[in-house]
Subunit: 317 residues, 2 copies
């Protein structure tokens, strides 16, 4: 299995100078709502607004100098694009980001503000892959996959490592689950830290390929995902499927209304703007019977949500 | 002049066991936007979601035991109601809160959740005053005014005292200005701390009685206030007018669109949910030429805003 649990500690040392050590938040009102003692690892306060900056930084800083000069590349319409752009700028190398032409202007602007070159393509998966291939061939840049990459996974795991370091006696950690990079890194961090902390993934019911894959014992890719959790649409890769299968307790499947309720609680009780793809992890604590009354870490993975979407994200009344 | 600058330190000692020592937040992106080095005193993370809990707690904890048993009373449709309810519950005494019948259900629910007795009245100032008078006569409770009260003012000033204690070398502090309790307490705290820190008020253009009163040298009460800053509708009292006149550099008048822009920046860049009546203070830093490039503390006074209002509070595009 790659990466190894030790790789998370190595990543933590490598990226320490570049990332924020985010705070761990606690709220009695959230505890009452969730039915557990919840420690919130506030990655929405990470640079570029999401944990993704950890993995991107670990990947960018791991590159040998002569390789790095040609830059890095990815296709992304979300947090990975901004994270990679900022990580590249921090090292002083180019970033080439392939984005679909219909991407939200606010996301495009964030990537542009970090100085990345943006290459537009048709809004299909095939066009994104083909355009990225052409960009890599043209520039010699290194592709940094958003989750199917050992350095990205190890970097993502550093959030949980900090949480485990800061909060003794956790029973469990819940992390959102899309492509599985964050959950894999979290599980590796827990293994590295020892102490038998149980790790769960939180997955939207409308994009539950991981739950179905774990039940079947083989990868079942997601088709036609439908959820408000726009960061969790992707399917597991073989690499993340292997780690999730071996090192986690399983997947808690959450419908969007429960995620809406969790987002609303976080917004009104902790005054924190959390994206739905992160709030789902708090919803999962409330939903999972075995977590009732336990000390549970939650990776609040990001806060990049357009405030104009908050009406759509309000809980049903 | 009452209260004295020393009263803020006395209040800080009295309430220390009950209030959160809120963090001071900093964001490079906010600095760039505001054109100053901005230190945000995060009172939206205070108990009950606003600085008001400090003053209410100082007032409630200052009561002699045999007076306190009869409870406290106020009329309020906003943060003071929730703050006083929680402060009373913390001391184990009754709170009688007069609220207009048309108050937002979420505000009424917050007060009820803190165990206060709610007395409904017609939604007019006259009815509120008359109902409160009847409640005080009936119960023997002590009226705690939301700002025209020395203990409330001194308690409000403890937020700035913590900020001054934590951040050396501040040039100025900006606080929102409605009835003037927070601004008065902030100015007293700065005087108490010494060091010549300049204190400014931030007032909505649609409720600018303080700016007009200072210009005229006499109190000119507000009539027909119109602003999104629903916590800043009130006029100064003689007590707060005296302190604001003597101890502050003046008032920065801000139109609602500038407040909307500041709220949006705080939401998207710091991921903090801030109410418009607090965001106005950041808008004032950006608007006031003498603050450009300076080290400026901002009292982010509260975060109690219904997320359903955020669409209405979005900046013009």
């Amino acid at each position: 299995m790659t990466p190894s649990p030790d790789s998370v500690r190595t990543a933590a040392a490598r990226i320490a100078a570049f990332v924020h050590r985010t705070p761990v938040l606690h709220s009695t009102l959230i505890d009452e709502w969730a039915g557990a003692h919840v420690l919130l690892k506030a990655e929405h306060l990470q640079r570029a607004g999401a944990f993704k900056y950890r993995g991107a930084t670990n990947a960018v800083q791991s590159l040998a100098a002569q390789v790095a000069t040609k830059g890095v590349a990815a296709h992304s319409s979300g947090n990975h694009a901004a994270a990679l752009a900022l990580a590249a700028r921090t090292r002083g190398i180019p970033a080439h980001i392939v984005m679909p032409a219909n991407v939200a202007p606010v996301k495009r602007a964030a990537v542009a503000a970090y100085g990345a070159r943006i290459i537009e393509c048709e809004p299909t998966e095939a066009a994104r892959i083909e355009t990225l291939r052409a960009v890599v061939a043209e520039t010699g840049a290194v592709e940094i996959h958003p989750f199917d990459n050992d350095d990205v996974i190890a970097g993502a795991g550093t959030a949980a490592l900090e949480l485990l370091d800061e909060v003794p006696g956790l029973d469990a950690i819940v992390a959102p689950l899309g492509g599985g990079g964050l959950l894999s890194g979290t599980a590796l961090a827990a293994r590295s830290a020892g102490g038998g902390v149980v790790v769960w993934g939180a997955e939207p019911a409308g994009a539950d390929d991981a739950a179905r894959s774990l039940a079947a014992g083989r990868l079942i890719p997601q088709t036609d995902p439908r959820t408000i959790c726009d960061g969790l649409l992707t399917s597991l890769a073989p690499r993340t499927f292997a780690i999730v299968s071996e090192l986690t307790a399983g997947v808690i499947v959450i419908d969007d209304d429960a995620t809406r309720a969790a987002l609303h609680m976080l917004l009104t009780r902790t005054k924190q703007l959390i994206e739905p793809s992160a709030a789902i992890a708090l919803a999962a604590v409330r939903a999972e019977p075995s977590l009732a009354g336990r000390r549970v870490g939650v990776v609040l993975s990001g806060g990049n949500v357009d405030p104009a979407r908050l009406a759509e994200l309000a809980p049903p009344t």
